[in-house]
């Protein structure tokens, strides 16, 4: 028989009460927050995963905002191209009608005025703004890209946005490619990181940054001579309309006729542009959808990590309450009676 003393009793009672109450307290905290994790040590791995999921969710929200912004821009761009195309079609009809000798000089003068008007419209579209931002200025979004002569003063800058992780899309067309000409019809965008040369990021390699800087700096700012030549040779929308006006005023139907082919060329180019913008918008739409899906997945996963299973939790609480009650009863049995009560 092992000896039992008053204090060994008390130790046993205190310890078991303390244990049960601690568990109760813990469950109570979970019950009031409905979280299965209230501090990192509750489950270090789930905690870390939940945090990184939270980041994913926030990232996706931002990607969606970017996508919406891109949509706004692309819609405006598409609309503008559509209007330009209409203008060119109208001009082409006029050119077609005026390429024969059917009309006389006075009528042509009037028609010339109409074409001049069309040219102003085209110019207005070319200088269109979304907010305070010029749509067709490349990176020079705060200054007017086209002057009255239709000379482009913007640059070739393509603004890209990340609309889902590591997926970049161009959100603008430059005035140059819309109104002048373009050879590049691909919509593939490089990761901006490659443009800024990634080794810079590693803080240990800060040393020879300065030299590399000079070389790659002026990517978009300078217009090369070869580009200038293309301007002259190719038909641009404004010189085309200008040419048409002049030929009408000079009553020169044969020149008018020679412009027809160029009109066709420009219209074809614009249609291609529109298709390009349309396909970019499609990918924006699908990215938005997949972002949403990912967000929901991430939220579900996070909830399963962090939130308490309510049924399980409350059945645990009930069970623990019963344990506490029976601990009290058991302790009462030990504490209330002693031999002295029976010695008379």
């Amino acid at each position: 028989m092992s000896r039992v003393s008053e204090n060994s009793n008390m130790h046993a009672i205190k310890y078991s009460l303390g244990k049960t109450k601690e568990k109760m307290e813990n469950l109570q905290l979970k019950g009031s927050t409905l979280r299965s994790i209230t501090r990192p040590s509750d489950n270090p791995i789930s905690n870390v995963e939940a945090l990184s999921l939270q980041s994913r969710i926030k990232d996706n929200k931002q990607y969606t905002r970017n996508a919406e912004y891109a949509e706004l821009h692309l819609t405006a761009t598409e609309k503008s191209i559509e209007q330009i195309t209409e203008i060119l079609n109208k001009a082409k009809e006029i050119a077609l009608a005026q390429s024969s000798d059917f009309y006389d000089q006075d009528i042509r003068k009037n028609v010339a005025n109409e074409v001049r008007q069309l040219r102003y419209q085209a110019l207005a579209i070319a200088n269109k703004r979304v907010g305070n931002k010029y749509l067709f200025g490349g990176f020079k979004t705060l200054s007017k890209p086209f002057d009255d002569q239709g000379v482009y003063s913007g640059d070739q800058g393509k603004m890209t946005l990340e609309i889902s992780k590591d997926f970049f899309i161009p959100v603008n067309l430059t005035g140059y490619e819309v109104f002048y000409s373009s050879n590049d019809t691909s919509s593939k965008q490089p990761n901006p990181f490659e443009q800024v040369s990634p080794e810079d990021v590693n803080p240990t390699k800060v040393k020879d940054r300065e030299e590399a800087l000079e070389v790659s700096r002026d990517l978009a700012s300078e217009k090369s001579d070869s580009q200038q030549n293309i301007y002259e040779e190719r038909s641009n929308v404004f010189s085309l309309l200008e040419g048409l006006t002049n030929s009408l005023e000079n009553n020169d139907p044969s020149f008018t006729q020679s412009l027809l082919e160029k009109f066709d060329e420009s219209i074809t180019r614009l249609v291609t542009m529109r298709t390009k913008v349309g396909s970019i918008m499609n990918s924006v739409d699908s990215s938005k959808l997949s972002n949403e899906d990912q967000t929901i997945d991430a939220q579900t996963r996070r909830s399963s990590l962090v939130d308490a299973d309510v049924t399980e939790l409350f059945s645990d609480i009930t069970r623990q309450q019963n344990i506490l009650k029976s601990t009290y009863q058991a302790s009462q049995g030990l504490m209330s009676k002693s031999l002295i009560d029976f010695l008379r």
């Binding site: 092992s2 000896r3 039992v4 003393s5 008053e6 204090n7 060994s8 130790h11 046993a12 310890y15 979280r35 209230t38 501090r39 990192p40 040590s41 509750d42 270090p44 791995i45 905690n47 870390v48 990184s52 939270q54 980041s55 926030k58 990232d59 931002q62 990607y63 905002r65 970017n66 891109a70 200025g137 490349g138 990176f139 020079k140 705060l142 800058g157 603004m159 890209t160 946005l161 990340e162 590591d166 970049f168 990761n191 901006p192 990181f193 443009q195 800024v196 990021v201 590693n202 803080p203 940054r209 700096r217 002026d218 990517l219 978009a220 700012s221 002693s338 031999l339 002295i340 010695l343």
Partner: protein, 487 residues
């Protein structure tokens, strides 16, 4: 017949002493560290009387405390371990709170916001409002780095003052033990009972073993010795070595912080013993301060340093968001009325990671003028978002830990480690508490007072007392009988 009276008397005395001891036990039932006492009694030496061996009653040899010194030693060890792990758990929980961001915004959340602010800026690089949002968010990041680091620092500082208090307590207890040693030696010399004093000394020693792991023994001259394991003798009989604690300079301190408290013997101030204590509160506090907190301070510094530098490296490449004069050759002027136009740092950085998180803040340029927040890789291009895009992509770039982890992964690794450490400490604390309670129960089983037992003893001794009195009464009556013969 006088014998009968004498024998009855010894019984009376013995029963009375037993009753006294029972009373003493009952009175001390709730005294901490009290060991129950019991009367050791023995039959008196018999005498030879006319060829017959005859007993002469009972005598009380001694009053002894019921005590097992091996259980006591186990209890000391268990107490050391328990206070070590429960203090570790307590301190680490404070650190854990710094990194807890399940329901509130922590660094991870804020860094994420920072990158997303740049992502938003990349959609509208020509929007002034977005620039100030970026600046506000960046300020938040800097502040949160500051918060984490200064909270860690204050954990360290708190530990410093706890160590200081701990050393004072230890000295007081050690002094108390020496006084008890003296008293016990004196009483033992005069042959008195020392059970109660020994109990008091055991309580003091157990208190001491909460602070560090100790070893006790009596040397050949019966001096009671207490030594701190790993450090040396603390108490020897009536002498004790005083411990002292004092702040030291940054280069001398064991955790690289200026003014942190170090421990040494008062007689040998040049000889640091801070890290030599084993187990117990002291080494627990010191380990949290010198290892756990220290490592986290370094981690957070490294994180802040690399974070700031990575952003700076890209930020410096671009041009400011305002009109810049360009020469005929396309070259830009180096600086305008508002300062340089390129090569601007976003964060202010020093050249090494030390205290980087504590000092992290925006560079003066960015703080003063939001046009100094760079988005464009080429000058005079308000719509150029390449720099801000690249900064936002830093979020997914593995440039930490030798190119194996993103900044988020690296930070979450730190948070994960904190969680694991706290979890381990909690488990240890629970286990060690269980062990201590177990040993204490074992001790109380042998040494503790049982009221039931004492009640039974009381009845038993009372009966013995009654019976002894009856013996004397009988002897008295026998005298009466003999005396009445004469009448």
């Amino acid at each position: 017949m006088a014998n009968i009276l004498g024998i009855g008397n010894t019984g009376l005395i013995a029963a009375k002493k037993s009753l006294e001891t029972t009373g003493h036990n009952i009175a001390n039932v709730n005294t901490e560290g009290y060991s129950r006492q019991r009367v050791m009694q023995q039959s008196n030496v018999p005498i030879n009387k006319s060829g017959l061996i005859q007993g002469t009653g009972v005598r009380v040899r001694s009053v002894e405390r019921v005590h097992d010194k091996f259980v006591e030693q186990r209890l000391q060890k268990a107490t050391s371990n328990e206070s070590y792990s429960s203090y570790r758990h307590e301190e680490l929980t404070q650190i854990e709170n710094i990194f807890n961001e399940i329901d509130n915004e922590g660094l991870n959340n804020i860094i994420n916001k920072f990158y997303n602010a740049f992502r938003e800026l990349s959609a509208q690089p020509d929007n002034e409002t977005m620039r100030s949002v970026v600046r506000d968010t960046a300020n938040l990041v800097a502040k949160d780095f500051n918060r984490i680091r200064s909270s860690l620092d204050s954990v360290s500082r708190n530990i410093d003052s706890k160590i200081d208090g701990e050393i004072k307590d230890i000295n007081a207890i050690a002094k108390n033990v020496t006084q008890l040693n003296v008293k016990i030696a004196e009483l033992e010399a005069s042959g008195s009972e020392t059970g109660d004093l020994r109990d008091q000394r055991d309580v003091a020693i157990r208190e001491l073993s909460k602070s560090f792991k100790i070893h006790t023994y009596s040397d050949e001259r019966n001096n009671f010795i207490i030594s701190a394991v790993g450090v040396g003798t603390l108490v020897a009989g009536s002498e004790f070595q005083e411990l002292a604690a004092a702040g030291t300079s940054e280069s001398e301190s064991s955790n690289g912080m200026d003014g942190s408290i170090e421990v040494f013997f008062a007689s040998r101030p040049a000889h640091k013993i801070t890290q030599k204590f084993k187990s117990g509160r002291l080494s627990s506090l010191i380990r949290v301060r010198n290892e756990d907190t220290r490592r986290l301070q370094d981690d957070v510094d490294r994180l802040a340093f690399d974070f700031a530098n990575s952003v700076n490296a890209i930020h410096r490449r671009g041009f400011v968001g305002r009109q810049i004069e360009q020469g005929a050759d396309g070259r830009t002027v180096a600086s305008d009325a508002k300062g340089p136009v390129t090569g601007i740092n976003f964060f202010k950085v020093s050249d090494n990671p030390k205290d980087a998180s504590l000092n992290l803040q925006l560079s003066d340029e960015v703080q003063e003028d939001i046009s100094n927040i760079v988005t464009a890789l080429s000058p005079n291009s308000p719509g150029d978002n390449r720099i801000s895009l690249a900064i936002s992509k830093l979020q997914h770039e593995k440039f930490m830990a030798g190119g194996t982890a993103t900044i988020e992964e690296e930070f979450l690794k730190t948070v994960g480690n904190v969680g694991v450490e706290v979890g381990k400490a909690k488990l240890d604390a629970e286990q060690n508490e269980g062990i201590r309670v177990q040993v204490e129960t074992i001790k109380e089983r042998t040494s503790g007072v049982s009221l039931d037992e004492e009640a039974a003893n009381m009845v038993k001794f009372q009966h013995a007392y009654d019976a002894a009195a009856k013996v004397m009464q009988t002897a008295n009556e026998m005298f009466d009988t003999v005396l009445s013969i004469k009448r």
